[in-house]
Amino acid sequence: MASIKVFGHATTTSTRRVLLTLHEKNLDYELVNVELKDGEHKKEPFLSRNPFGQVPAFEDGDLKLFESRAITQYIAHRYEDQGTNLLPADSKNIAHYATMSIGMEVEAHQFDPAASKLAWEQLFKHIYGLTTDQAVVAEEEAKLAKVLDVYEARLKEFKYLAGETFTLTDLHHIPVIQYLLGTPTKKLFTERPRVNEWVAEITKRPASQKILQ
């Protein structure tokens, strides 16, 4: 029986962020489905796992966590010697770690808010029979474009966002990027050469392919 359990929904970007990490690490886990359409995440027993009522929640033996980016960091540290290294190559180098942290904060506070809104407007709204608000799409694409300009400059100097190796910083972006590639927003990635290359690299990884299945 897997000691690792993920309580979530395999279509959500936040759950996928955690599943990606587990796949990169070749870790066994059990995915316990939380039925979002029935509001399961807003009731007990789920609320005891995450009082904020959001997927995913996580368990490793008797350790219980929530917030996908806290979970991925735990996995990356706890299982550092297994599978893909998701920390900087010299993981004890605090300065290198700080550089990766910057990237994780940028993803969470600069990239994801705009990217998530774009995925919501152009994809998820349709599931609920709602219509895309093109004004919001235009506004959020303008914000995302500014972030991607910074990424373009960064990726001209380094292969990945935190340096020469793939780290959690890159991984955190993958689930929402995968969704956006199925929308007109894709052009923001394809029209920036280094960003385009980076997107191709990170989405073709075997783990990235596994979470789409």
């Binding site: 966590l65 806290a70 960091q73 540290h77 706890r78 969470a108 506070h109």
Partner: protein, 261 residues
């Protein structure tokens, strides 16, 4: 998010700082911005050293305050280099070389340059783990993971709402705009849901992540406590107690002092 809104407005230039303590150095503002403020948390005048840590920011910004609080908790010497927000210095070189996203604060430690206040505070907690207060839950990876959970909660759940309330109630007035009461009501409705969770959490734990003060507790709720929104905190006993504890810390008093100067 608050940082972005704040920095696009005109802010008054930092006022000259009158210092009575001989270990605190200040040189008046000049063309090339040599108004660097050297601070040491030690009171002895014999401990003046060249600070290898430089913070680029302004004491008014909550994100800058977060970093200053961590530095004071760690009893680290640093230099605060004001950024002339009014002149848009944060959106131009040389600041953009420190943070291409054009937001304060940025931090330099020797030849390392960092931005994003929460990444900076984590770096300070790690690099200087042996100095001053411990800012992460002590122990193994499993326990440290809890600090990360509540840091993410602060960043993802609490701060987006709190920042907007502070903008409505405090900053709009400063820039000659009017508070939108409907927006405040809506935001406070969301905030109370978060504070209810904090109340439940603090009934089980002395501080948010564990029984020690950590990065997750750094008190950047400061602005809200000077507004009517403070009632939401004070009406919840455990939250109220926690607010008193975190704002009573000497390191926090030093941050607040900087704002008054």
């Amino acid at each position: 998010m608050m940082g972005t809104i704040l920095q696009s407005r005109l802010l008054p230039p930092p006022p000259p700082i009158k210092l009575s303590h001989s270990s605190l150095l200040f040189s008046p503002s000049q063309q090339h911005s040599r108004s660097n403020l050297k601070f040491t948390s030690k009171s002895s005048p014999s401990t003046i050293t060249m600070a290898s840590i430089k913070v680029h920011g302004v004491p008014m910004s909550t994100a800058t305050m977060r970093v200053l609080a961590a530095l004071y908790e760690k009893e680290l010497e640093f230099e605060l280099i004001p950024v002339d927000m009014r002149a848009g210095a944060h959106k131009q070189e040389p600041f953009l070389s420190l943070n291409p996203f054009g937001q304060i604060p940025a931090l330099q430690d020797g030849d390392l340059t960092l931005f994003e206040s929460r990444a900076i505070t984590e770096y300070i907690a790690d690099e200087y783990s042996e100095k001053g207060e411990k800012l992460m839950c002590p122990g193994c990876n499993k326990v440290k993971a809890l600090t990360k959970v509540w840091l993410n909660v602060e960043g993802q759940q609490f701060d987006p709402i709190a920042s907007k309330i502070a903008f409505e109630r405090v900053f709009k007035g400063m820039f000659g705009m009017t508070t939108d009461p409907a927006a405040v009501q809506d935001l406070e409705g969301k905030l109370v849901r978060v504070l209810d969770i904090y109340e439940a959490r603090l009934s089980k734990s002395e501080f948010l992540a564990c029984d020690c003060f950590t990065l997750a507790d750094l008190p950047v709720i400061h602005y809200l406590m000077g507004t009517d929104s403070k009632a939401l905190f004070e009406s919840r006993p455990k939250v109220c107690e926690w607010v008193k504890k975190i704002t009573a810390r000497p390191a926090w008093a030093k941050v607040v002092d900087l704002q008054k100067q």
